[in-house]
């Protein structure tokens, strides 16, 4: 009886600790900003479809300047070549979830699952939208349920 009580309290303590120690939190469906999700989805889909067609994506104010400079034409080609060699061509994108930083609650981390031709595994396409509604981060990586 004593052991089971100790185990129970240890479990509750760990869960509480877990809640307190989160730097990021997942937003529930009614907390998400649909406008930001749409900006992120539209950008990601157009970006990968443009690269798939052999062209390069031209930014027109939807991303922050450092982000647009980072994704130069050569960098875009290099990234897509690596992805298509390993996973095949881009097929589609599906919204998964939104997270926010506890310190910067206006910045949203929007996670999508991207489908590619050669693999049954969905990849994570992650878009960070800042408080001005601009794209401030853009990644692609293997999907994991915990936010890494």
């Amino acid at each position: 009886m004593k052991t089971s009580q100790t185990l129970f309290f240890a479990f509750v303590a760990l869960l509480s600790l877990s809640a307190c120690s989160q730097d990021y939190q997942k937003l529930s469906e009614n907390q998400t900003d649909l406008r930001k999700i749409e900006i992120a989805r539209d950008f990601s889909d157009r970006f990968y479809n443009t690269l798939k067609s052999g062209k390069t994506y031209e930014f027109s104010g939807e991303a922050t300047e450092p982000m647009a400079n980072l994704l130069s034409a050569d960098k875009q080609k290099e990234i897509y070549q690596q992805i298509s060699n390993q996973f095949g061509h881009y097929k589609s994108i599906q919204y998964a979830e939104t997270w926010t930083s506890v310190k910067q609650s206006d910045t949203h981390i929007i996670r999508f699952k991207g489908e590619f031709e050669k693999t049954a595994k969905r990849l994570e396409i992650r878009v960070v939208i800042n408080d001005e509604g601009k794209i401030a981060g853009f990644w692609i990586k293997p999907w994991l349920d915990p936010l890494t």
Binding site: F11, L14, L15, S18, Q22, A120, W143, L144, D145
Partner: protein
């Protein structure tokens, strides 16, 4: 009595009944793993990712289970001096995967589904995985001993070798051959 039943139920469970229960466990384990996004395709590690369709979960878990069983059958033929029934080893080995349900079942709780990677939740999940794998391997070892009746001094080494070899082959197929 209860501990002996939990770690070695095979004095009461064998044959068709074990196969039937083992198949049900395999289907339940695969389904819960799919719904919770928990890949248990190894006795050494797990992956938390809702990233593949149901058929992929079914393929990787069936492959891992089949290779474990095949490894035990081959080891049984090499080490046993008596005849044994394939139906017994297949059924009891499938049944021994039951404890693996613990981790995917825990992940049905929302707090264990989505969390930041540095959260202590991960330690609880690792602990559950370790307990479930130790329990499952103990059951598998008892299944092997009762079904194949090996009388060799190499029984333990044979069992470990079969586990490691099947683990290596299944991981190679899952990560290099499955799309």
């Amino acid at each position: 009595m209860i501990i002996s039943l939990v770690l070695n139920p095979y004095n009461r469970l064998a044959g068709i009944r074990a196969i039937f229960l083992g198949l049900i466990i395999h289907i339940v384990l695969t389904s819960i793993s799919f719904y919770s996004g928990t890949h248990i395709n190894s006795n050494l590690f797990f992956k938390l990712a809702s990233d593949t369709p149901f058929w992929y979960f079914l393929a990787e878990m069936s492959l891992h289970a089949s290779l474990n069983i095949l490894g035990l059958i081959v080891t049984g033929y090499l080490l046993s001096r008596t005849q044994f029934r394939l139906i017994d080893i297949i059924g009891t080995a499938l049944f021994s995967r039951a404890p693996l349900v613990l981790l995917p079942a825990a992940r049905l709780i929302p707090a264990f589904k989505s969390f930041y990677v540095t959260s202590p939740v991960i330690y609880i999940l690792i602990l559950i995985f370790i307990v479930s794998v130790i329990w499952s391997i103990t059951l598998l070892y008892n299944a092997f001993k009762i079904s194949c009746n090996p009388k060799s001094k190499f029984t333990n080494i044979g069992f470990i070798a079969a586990m490691l070899l099947s683990e290596g082959i299944s991981q190679f197929i899952i990560y290099q051959i499955l799309p």
